[in-house]
Amino acid sequence: MSKLARGPWRRIILLGFVLAWSGPLLADASGSMSPAQPYHLGQGLYFPQQALRVGGYADLQFHGLDDQRNALVIEDLSLFLSKDMGARWKMFGEVELGDAVTATRRQLTTRYANVDLERFYAEYRVSNGITLRVGKFLTPVGQWNLIHADPLVWSVSRPLTTTAAFARHSTGAMLYGTVNLQNHDLDYWLFADDSQAIGFARSHDLAYGAYGASSPLRNDFAHALGGQFLYHMIDDRLSVGASAVRYALRDPRQQYRLIGIDFAWTGRRVEFSGEALQRKADNPALPDEVGGFLQAVVPLPRSLYLVGRYERYRSSIQPGAVYIRNIGLNYRPVRGLFLKLERLDGSRNEALDPSGWFFSVGAIF
């Protein structure tokens, strides 16, 4: 896409979104009515007349790295807006204020604050098994990236496998849906990204986003084409997925191929999940990125969960593999509210995901 095309593309897309949000662009053709619903934590506030739901999440984190100053950070303050327009159209937007306030013993600062338009898209339900999404969305690689919000994941820290090798956000078009195969659901996502031409809102996507990580490397797609499949079995207690993406990053400007696998299994007394991926550059002189993690969650009495994770990751920016071990507790007293405490240790992890204690408290509202 030429540089000249960037402006018109952005204007057309933004105009469409503004028109859709600003009024009843499409009459409600569903023939349905929605009952008023009282507000509950974790479900958002619903306005039935406008078919609009407003919600979000917020979390406060403590980072106590072994060799650095402790910090207390308002890590995320995220707002969702979701609007149904008739039977087939839907709009969704998420705005996030990240690192809003950082407090250490010496200072209280907002200088790390950043505002991201995390997601912003329109959807059209073509049929029960096919939905078209256009806009900015989360890249469908692995299960973690699609639900990465702090209240939804078990640990404070995030595995390198879920951030380091690909852009977490894509801008373009996606087809996704669920089809039933022999009484089992198969979820699929197929997407094409052209962030270079229509990337109207770049995200704060550091490849190594852990607190205290020293690499400023960013992961932003220039172009990407890929997809993911996730097959559910045993009444959704087991899901097995695979991802493949062919893409070019903006910087370093290289072509890559990524393949990944993931799974999640929920038993009565333990839940296991894991992801693994390999990224190869077209330039054979560049080293691969290869990694994976296995996570276990054991329910304890009184809404408490014991969480353990082990990860091995070989990055292209430092020699040798990084090994990371996490052990922590997750407390979920009521729906929408959570507290997490975690210890992270490892070897050769100082630059990419430093050791330390982490704590977070937050809510989905």
Binding site: S30, G31, Q37, R53, F80, L152, N180, D185, D236
Partner: protein
């Protein structure tokens, strides 16, 4: 499905799945029902958006329905809806009583609800009856309407 047949075991642990009399649906299988209540299937055969309606979380009937149709326990279901909420998909609307479910379903062509068979009346169609085998929830049992059918 005949209402009489559905009502035979009104005091047993049966769940009647109901739709509006105006709905084109005449029968629904459990897999489709599960997909509708998990909002994986959105449109009915007339291209109306399904409106599944639930009873309150502490309802014994909801527990029976969840066990028999959704096949997820409450923490798993909560986790599922938390993940869906992050994608902009909300759980089914909740109505306060079986009588409210019957009234709402009767007026809403694409609504799908569930009640004890003795609650189903002439304004709705029973499209599936599910028999529940398993542990009872600890909440108070639902009573049938005082004068027979609602």
């Amino acid at each position: 499905m005949a209402l009489n047949a559905a009502s035979k075991n009104a005091n047993g642990r049966q769940v009647a799945v109901i739709v509006s009399r105006q709905a084109p649906t005449t029968a629904i299988d459990r897999n489709l029902l599960r997909s509708v209540f998990l909002k994986k299937v959105f449109l009915d055969s007339a291209n109306h958006v399904y409106v599944p309606v639930n009873l309150p979380p502490d309802s014994r009937l909801r527990h029976d329905f969840t066990v028999a149709v959704i096949h997820l326990d409450e923490p798993q279901l909560q986790g599922y809806w938390n993940r869906q909420y992050f994608q902009g998909v909300s759980p089914p609307f909740v109505l306060g009583s079986q009588a409210a479910v019957v009234d709402f379903v009767a007026k809403t062509p694409a609504a799908v609800g569930y009640v004890r068979p003795c609650y189903a009346n002439a304004k709705v169609k029973v499209v599936l009856v599910v028999t529940v085998i398993g542990k009872l929830a600890e909440s108070a049992p639902e009573q049938c309407p005082p004068h027979g059918r609602h």
